[in-house]
Structures are given as structure tokens and as C-alpha cells.
Symmetry: C2
Subunit: 442 residues, 2 copies
């Protein structure tokens, strides 16, 4: 039995609870004990502020290839999507692994210890399954675990290009033919990665959107893995709401709720353009709302009603989504800052609530309810933030320094599931450059 | 005569013009020649993308002490201002020098080679002048030049707490008694730092705001240094507009214009809440509009009509203002991203226009029209960005990579006025921590 000890100069133990001199004992993948102790002894010393591991609840790993590439001239969400599809056309299990591994390594450097990959790139370019129909999903799972992260592979059902329209172009790679066929494939994948207390990979389900899954197919997706997370893109764009209203006479949230998809294990990703009734539905269900503010800025989605959702009972989580930025600290503060822009008032999200969204709530939304807290029995994930960098110096050593002054580059030490996660930033950068070049040039 | 040469792997020579293999010869403070040359020879090699030095057009150096400190609970712009005043109360020329030096060093690390300091902390805590009435301004100038930056000290006239109300509390430190008395003091300071081709410090003028300078005093401020920059805070908050309307029956922009302050050497700082007529006034004058997007997020100011101003003829510049963040790359992209949030469309600012705002336009607005371009005769300011970091890898090596993928931490080499500016980040962080502790604790 392997036991190790980490001594934190300061540790964030929960909203409003920052403690000095915290000794954390780790046994295998779990935290055995947490106590105040002024003498580090032989423990590994973590200078700065140590927080739990960060959960990135909405990732499309391969979008990393688009960073800095989609900003030319004028363009809409839909023209951005065309560029994204061009990358999707080129990936195969090997190149997908390489791009995802490099992207997840960038996440690990930023303090992310668990990722929810919203995975829909399932089949060969002509739409036929690979010899292993889950070859792409397995590539993503291997990339994350090899990079040192836990992963919830949110296997995504994608059946139509729009409301009733057949898949177009690269979308045939996403398409399983029916929700039942999706279920056969995903059941096999889930059986290979059974939910277990110490499993580093879990399989969850996702409904891509109301555009891509007909309402009558949604119950099949919702029912397949009844104990696992269920995610869906919800109301990211006004155009989606409009089309949904025309097709169903209801909002996307209402369509999902009527299909039985909305519950306490459901995550509404984006949740940007909601009605008051939608907010009530998600709040009453204690569902998660995953905001991805840097992507929502980049894609001109707008500013969603995050505070209203939380006040109604929904639980905030965060995601890097398109990888325009991989910096969970920027995502945390962007929640507050964008809400300030839309309301012209300050003070919507105490820093501790934003840290909770990025840690314990995020892990719970990904099916790891026993992670994201520095507490006995939980996953041994510790992320140490330098509170004495040029960015953080003078900002104190409390939760506000982490949320409002720190950046990904201030992460100095990462422990995930009891293992130190080390990557050389220069090597990760080389892998990123190579992986992007491969998928842009091929 | 000292001549040195820098060979740039890539260089940004203007919007849309990124060139490989650029050899820049530097003679004293100036660029002597710029040419393509595939052989670096003995030149100092600059790997990555080299851009001109960045101009930070709106800085309150001492606000750096507030980073991460003003986010607790609920609060408004006006409660933030109270915390800022508490720091202002404690500064003296020595502590102001130390805090400003550390802050400017943080700027230099971020690629900023020229700062516009909007300086209003003039007098002793009881309102009486220091033995040298310009002791505080001199401290700021020395801090910038010692840190390796050029500075436009925008000496700010501040006469009233509100429309007609006498200065309150710490504001007596800002107050010269009258615009004429402000002018006597500033004329002396300007005489000590005469405008000269190779002067690293210049003195400009500023009208704090329509709140703080009565309209009938504005012409005195505008007339004192007729060839130097003139800046003013304009319409940062709706409350200011409302009070201005009650007092003058006009907008702040109209009041400033009627006082003769608005011209091609005028910078409207923030310009957040403008009428269509205000946009026309600033555009017709070809005035500068200095946006400070990370501060405008932080203070819940709102999203100003930057694109409309540019389309009307105004010139965009950028500032770090409250130092909530010191990252000119984040300021550049925030211009586009926040406009996306307010319009739900992408594609307002080509990356090259944002780089121009941060470089040549910014320098011109600070009275350095011959800076901010990699061109013969200009100031020899070169800032090199790592295009192979974990943030920038795969994003290309063009202007979009700089604007949308890079961060301050990707700046690898800074040349300002022909001199290499080097700071050890760890040492700057220590200076920041010490300087902040001094003013928070004393």
C-alpha cells in the first residue's frame, strides 16, 4: 500500500475556508486524511495555494486545432462550424489520439484533472464503422488517461443535420443510424469501462442537441446508462431556439424535459438563451448548467442566465469547449465578469462558488461525486497555484487570488488520483504543433 | 555611435503584413533599417513573431494594489472606488515609486514599452503640496523610466468631488485649487521634461472627468500644453451621464467638446455610454477612444461602441487601467470578444486593426507618433512573442496567433528605445508583493 503526504502552505477546503499548514495524506488514489500541521516533516511541500483538481466539463478536444485559425474577416457561428468540420473530416483514431493527448496535456498543465469529452466523431469518413466501432472513443479515452487525466467519455448521439434533415457531409461520421444502434455501440463501450470506484474512465451519454436528435429518439439515449451523466447542448444560439419552436412549438429545454432527459444527472451545456420557464425546469431538477464563457465569447453566443439558474436550484459547472483558451481560472472569473457586463453590477458570484463550480460540482456532473474536494476518502487530486507570480503577487493568498489573479500558467504542481502529473510545457507545445499541422495539412 | 541588429524569424510590419526573415538595424534609440534577409549573420536572433512595442494608454499604476482584493461579496463601482481611495491615502513619493516601479516592470514583461499614466495623486495627505509640488509626478516618471518604459505622464486636473461639490477625503490630495494653479504646477513639470525627439518622458494633460473639472475650467486645462496629449475619462458609468445631464443638459462628450477639449490630440478614455451624437463628435475630430476592456468588465461598466467609433473616424487605443490584468494580448482580443457578446456576431475587428490599436495608434495617442511601427526612423521597440508555447502552438505564426492565442507570458524579448529590457519575473513578483503589502498595511 502506497502512502504519500503533501503539505500545503495554504489549502482551499471549500467556499470561504482557506487554511494554512494543511497536511494531506494520500493512499493509492484517495485522500486518507486532511489535518492542520505546522511541521511539514517529510511531506512533499506545496508552496502557494492548493485547490482540488479542476474538472473541465465540456471539451471537444479536436477543436484545439482551430485556435487562432477562425478569426479571419467576418464570420458567424455557422461558418466557424464549417472550419471545425474540415478538421473533423481528416481525423482517424491515430491522429485523433495525438491531437487529444496534446490537448489533454495542455489541460493537465492548467490544473485540470478530469475532463468530460463530448464525443461525436465515431465513424470512418464514409460513415461506416471502424473495425472496432468504438475505435475513436477508445482513442480519446487512452489520450486522456495517458495524459494523466480522468475522463468521462460522453458518447454523443447525433442523428440528423437539423430538425429532421439527414446528416450532411462530415456528419455521416457522427451518425449511428438510430438511437438504438447508438445504444448498441455505446453499451459495448460502457461494458469495457465499467463504473467502478477507482476507474479513471467512465462512459456517459449525450444528446448532441435538439437539432441532431429527434425528440422521439431522446428517451432511448436517456435510458441507456441510467446511473451515468447525461449531457446535451442546450440553446447555444438563438437560431436553434427559433427552429426548435417551429418544429416542436417548445423550447429545447422543454423538448428535452418532455423526453425525460432532464434530471439531477443532466447537464445543460451553454444554456445561453433560456426562457424563465426553462430556468425553472433546470432549477427544479437540480440539473447542472455547464457554462463555457471563453467559447461563448468566441462564438458570439451571448451571456446566459447563470446566476438565475443557480438561484433556481441548478448547479454551475464550467468547460473549455472549443479550446479557444485552456485556462480554468479565466473561465471562473469570466462567469462573474460577463455577468457584470450584462447587468452593469458587480458581485454575482463569490469566488468560492466559482471554485466549487470548477471542482466538486464539475466532478459530480461528470460522474465523479467523490472528487473535487480536499477531504478524506475523496480522489487525491491537488492543484497548487503560485500566489507569488507577477500575476498573483500582492493579490493575497485566498480564493479571490485564485479566481481573479491567477492564470493556468500559475499552476505549479498537479496531483491526479494520487499520481503526480508532470508534462514539460515545451514538449507539450511541440506535440500540439505537430498534431495540429497533421490535421490541417493532411 | 552604437549600432545593433536583430533578426526576426517573423515580424508584423502592419495590418495583414507578416514577413519572414526580417533584419532590423538599430542605431541608438531608433530603427535604422528594416529589410528581408535570410541570413541572420551576427544579428541577435528573435525566434517567434516580433511585433512593435505595445503602448498602454491608460494606467493608474497604484491600482495594482487592489488586484484580487475588491471582489468580496456584493459591491458597485462606487464601493470599489472607496477601496481604491484607501490605498491612495497611504502613498507617498517613495512608496508610490516602489509600487509604480514594480507595476511598470510587470508591464515591461508583458511587452509594454510605453505607458500613459493618468496621474492625479499630487499632494500630501492633508492637501498641501510637497516641497517639490511635483514630487509624486516625478516619482512616477522615474519609476517608468527605471523600469525601462517610456512614459507620457498625463497630469490630471481634479477640482471637485462631483458636479460642483468640493473634494472629499483623499480627494484633497488630487486637488490643485483651480485649473490655473494646476497649470502653474504642470507647466513647471513640463519644463523639466521638455518634448524632444528622443525624450523617454513627456508630460501631457488630463481632465479627470466632467465630475471633477467644471466646464468653465476645462479650457484652461486644454490650452496649457497645446501640442501634448489631452486625455479624459468619458462616460464610464451611466450615473455620470445622468448627473452630467442634470448639471449641464448635455452629455460629457458634448461638454468636453464645447470646452474645446476634443481634437485629434484628445483621448476619450472608456467612452462606454455614448449617444450617437457623441460618437459623431469624437469621430469627426479623429479623436482617440481608449478602451480598457478587462477593467470595464471588472467594474461592470458595460461594452462601449468601439466599432461605431472607429467607423465614424475615431482611433482605437487600449489601456490596462486598474491593472486587474496586465496583458495587452487579452485587452486586444477582449475588444472583439466583448463586441461579439453585445452583438451576437463575430468579425468586428480584424486582428491587424487590434495590433495597430495596441502599437502605432496607442503611441500616437501618448505623444509618440514615431513609435509602434517596425519601420526606419521609428523608436526601436521590438516585442517578441513565442509562437510555440502551449498557448500559441498550432495557432499559426500570424497576427491572429498574437491576438487570439498569446498571453503576456508568451513575451520572450523586449527592446524599448534600442535597449533590451530585462526583468526577472520572480524578482518583479517579490517587488510587487512588498510594495502592495507596504501600502495595504501601513
Amino acid at each position: 500500500m502506497s502512502v504519500s503526504a503533501y503539505w500545503c502552505e495554504r489549502a482551499w477546503l471549500g467556499p470561504g475556508d482557506v487554511a494554512d499548514d494543511v497536511l494531506v495524506e494520500v493512499e493509492e488514489q484517495r485522500i486518507r486524511s486532511v489535518r492542520r500541521d505546522r511541521s511539514p516533516g517529510a511531506a512533499h511541500r506545496l508552496a502557494g495555494l492548493t485547490i482540488p483538481g479542476l474538472a473541465n466539463c465540456h471539451s471537444h478536444a479536436f477543436h484545439r486545432a482551430l485556435r487562432g485559425r477562425t478569426q479571419r474577416g467576418l464570420g458567424t457561428f455557422w461558418t466557424w462550424r464549417e472550419q471545425m468540420y474540415a478538421v473533423a473530416r481528416r481525423l482517424d483514431p491515430d491522429s485523433y489520439y495525438r491531437l487529444a493527448f496534446a490537448t489533454y496535456a495542455e489541460m493537465a498543465l492548467a490544473g485540470i484533472t478530469c475532463v468530460g469529452e463530448f464525443h461525436y466523431l465515431h465513424h470512418q469518413p464514409d460513415g461506416t464503422p471502424y473495425d472496432d466501432p468504438n475505435a475513436m472513443g477508445e482513442a480519446v479515452i487512452a489520450a486522456a488517461t495517458d495524459a494523466g487525466l480522468r475522463i468521462a467519455l460522453l458518447d454523443t448521439c447525433y442523428l440528423s443535420a437539423g430538425f429532421g434533415a439527414p446528416p450532411e457531409g462530415v456528419q455521416i461520421r457522427y451518425h449511428d443510424g438510430s438511437a438504438d444502434a447508438w445504444g448498441v455501440r455505446v453499451a459495448d463501450l460502457a461494458a469495457r469501462h465499467p463504473a467502478a470506484a477507482d476507474a479513471a474512465a467512465e462512459v456517459g451519454a449525450a444528446i448532441h442537441s435538439v437539432r441532431a436528435v429527434p425528440a422521439d429518439q431522446m428517451p432511448v439515449v436517456a435510458a441507456l446508462l441510467p446511473a451515468a451523466p447525461l449531457h446535451a447542448h442546450v440553446s447555444e444560439q438563438v437560431a436553434e431556439n427559433d427552429a426548435c419552436g417551429q418544429r416542436y412549438g417548445r423550447t429545447p429545454t422543454a423538448v428535452l424535459a418532455d423526453a425525460g432527459a432532464v434530471s439531477a444527472r443532466f447537464t445543460a451545456v451553454h444554456a445561453t438563451h433560456l426562457s424563465a420557464a426553462d430556468v425553472g425546469i433546470l432549477g427544479d431538477a437540480a440539473a447542472y448548467a455547464c457554462f463555457c464563457p471563453t467559447t461563448e465569447r468566441d462564438l458570439a453566443d451571448g451571456i446566459g442566465p447563470a446566476r438565475a439558474l443557480a438561484d433556481a436550484g441548478a448547479r454551475l459547472t464550467l468547460g473549455s469547449d472549443s479550446q479557444a483558451v485552456i485556462d480554468p481560472f479565466e473561465e471562473m472569473r469570466a462567469m462573474e465578469l460577463d455577468e457584470r457586463l450584462s447587468t452593469r453590477r458587480r458581485g454575482h458570484w463569490p469566488a468560492g462558488e466559482l471554485l466549487r463550480a470548477a471542482t466538486s460540482e464539475g466532478h459530480a456532473a461528470l460522474g465523479f461525486p467523490d472528487a473535487g474536494r480536499i477531504a478524506p476518502g475523496g480522489w487525491a487530486d491537488l492543484v497548487t497555484v503560485d500566489t507569488g507570480s507577477v500575476r498573483t503577487a500582492g493579490a493575497g493568498a485566498g480564493e479571490e487570488a485564485a479566481v481573479y489573479a491567477a492564470s493556468a500558467v500559475d499552476v505549479t504542481h498537479v496531483l491526479a488520483g494520487g499520481r503526480v502529473v508532470e508534462h514539460d510545457p515545451a514538449e507539450v507545445a511541440r506535440l500540439l504543433a505537430d498534431a495540429v499541422e497533421e490535421v490541417l495539412a493532411s
